[in-house]
Symmetry: C2
Subunit: 323 residues, 2 copies
């Protein structure tokens, strides 16, 4: 199998992107100076995110397929968090020069399968390839609101309920299992590990929440505590989380936590990367299936409490690397 | 001045992006999960490109401002090359953790000034910041066709004339001057160096060419010979460049070439990074001001000739690093 260096950028990209299917939202896909995409409702959502080797991923944990999948999942989640539907993505990747073409092909397969599975009809419409000593992946994703208004994070109102769509703590548990010196634990809890490596954010809940009148919404990428505090600050409200409502999220992590002598509550409260949706809904409206109530929006200075007590945030900062 | 590591990602980004002006095409700018952009004509152009330290740029040559400027200029050029007008860009950047906030602020100033100067009304609508040992900058730019059709690179017809909008060889000359051991040469030819560091592609010529019926167009990023050959291959035509038509491009480089014992023709034929436009127009139509004829499109197997003789391409491949 040739390396990317042996083939050069253009030929490597051509071969790796060849299996990509045409997508319904692309008028012109990859291969020209720019792609041309449809914006059926006269506007489009844009989100960008970068994953850096040894910082956001480790090649001994993640396969090329995993990385392609995760790159799409995390960016599509930001589109869903605005109440929209993902339509397409462009991907810039830089890898070591001795990387085999097969690695790149698997990566593109991960991109393709994630886009098909998480947002049917969407697809990859452009790529850029380079080489460097350190690998990184930079994705920009696009979405459509289908004529709805965007759901921003700054519009939560006192009296709203606080809801989560998707899982909490599973990706953090998966990472703890992967990092454990004894590899048998990661093998024993395959589902948790797979949420860390190949997250499946509840993309379809984004538009559903929008249709049901969600007042504010965001993607939980850095942990519930960190992101709930951001929502409180953006909206100028107080947010209280009820610990009793988290028991269900903790229960599914209990066995894994026991086996590696960890605790479930920190995973659920502070663990990032499940890419679930945090949304607020008015109390007088029906809540769409898939969202679980975990607390309330209150009047007052922007702060985050757990059962009425100030909750210290402990999420991820991509610069300081602090969790 | 604090470093980015001391401030963390969110605070560094907040401070660096604070001076950004609202743009007319953004309904929601940076700060939420996604930006929301207008697509007035029901579609939008997308282009993505990455610059990597010591591969696409050197920090001893380029200031932070220069890098911000160049990142926008090179991406806007890909939008113009489709016959569109740039509207916005999102920027992911990773820098060393000990980078001062001032560097990031200067970089953002470069982004902002380039977007304002090259495409008035456009602007930066989102950013992502991380730290790594090696710096890189990944930009995705957007554009609008204002209801026109896109000008692809695959539609040149035998009988068309081949035209260049913008300069040829200046960026390559600038790079040669910068690399010369004696720094006085770079200081003596400031205009050439500035085309390398802060290119000013003829963005407005893209839409103008589209309005005047250009049959094919592309951005000359990797050198005239490499990119003209790509256009020939994409369109399935033969392209002949007339050397006499290049004399004007060579003349303005003559003094600099003499001073460092270099030749002007390789710069003009093979030098990348001027980001000028290569376009084909039917012979019976008026050619818009700003384009200069340099050759012809002929029937035959896709190949590139100079005065009828096969011309070897010698452009840049971003993976192999071969010039």
């Amino acid at each position: 199998m040739p390396t990317i260096f042996e083939l050069g950028e253009k030929e490597s990209l051509r071969r790796a992107l060849a299996p990509l299917k045409p997508t319904e939202f692309a008028i012109i896909g990859s291969g020209d100076d720019s792609a041309l995409l449809k914006a059926q409702s006269g506007s489009y959502l844009v989100s960008t995110d970068t994953m850096i080797e040894n910082h956001d991923f480790r090649k001994d944990f993640s396969s090329a397929f995993d990385l392609g999948w995760k790159a799409i999942a995390t960016n599509y989640s930001d589109i869903a968090a605005m109440g929209g539907v993902p339509t397409a993505a462009v991907v810039a990747i830089s890898v070591q020069a001795d990387t085999e073409l097969e690695w790149l092909t698997d990566f593109v397969r991960g991109l393709q399968q994630a886009s098909e599975s998480l947002a049917p009809g969407s697809g990859i419409v452009g790529g850029d390839l380079a080489t460097s000593d350190l690998s990184f992946i930079s994705v920009t994703a696009f979405g459509d609101l289908d004529g709805l208004n965007p759901v921003v994070r700054s519009n939560a109102n006192p009296g709203d309920g606080l809801y989560v769509g998707g899982t909490l703590g599973k990706a953090a548990a998966g990472l703890a299992l992967l990092k454990h010196p004894d590899p048998q634990f990661a093998r024993s809890y395959d589902e948790l590990v797979s949420v860390q490596l190949r997250p499946t954010p509840p993309i379809q809940l984004g538009k559903l929440a929008n249709e049901h009148g969600a007042t504010a919404m965001m993607d939980i990428s850095d942990g519930l505590s960190t992101d709930a505090k951001r929502l409180a600050e953006a909206s100028g409200v107080k947010i209280n989380i009820e610990s009793s409502s988290l028991l269900g999220f903790q229960a599914v992590l209990e066995q894994a936590a026991l086996s590696i002598e960890a605790s479930t509550l920190p995973w659920v409260l502070h663990g990032g990367e499940d890419h679930s949706l945090l949304a607020t809904f008015p109390s007088d409206k029906p809540i769409p299936k898939g969202f679980k109530r975990i607390g309330s929006v209150l009047a007052g200075d922007p702060e985050l409490t757990l059962d009425g007590e100030i909750l210290q945030t402990a999420g991820w900062d991509s610069v300081t690397g602090n969790q």
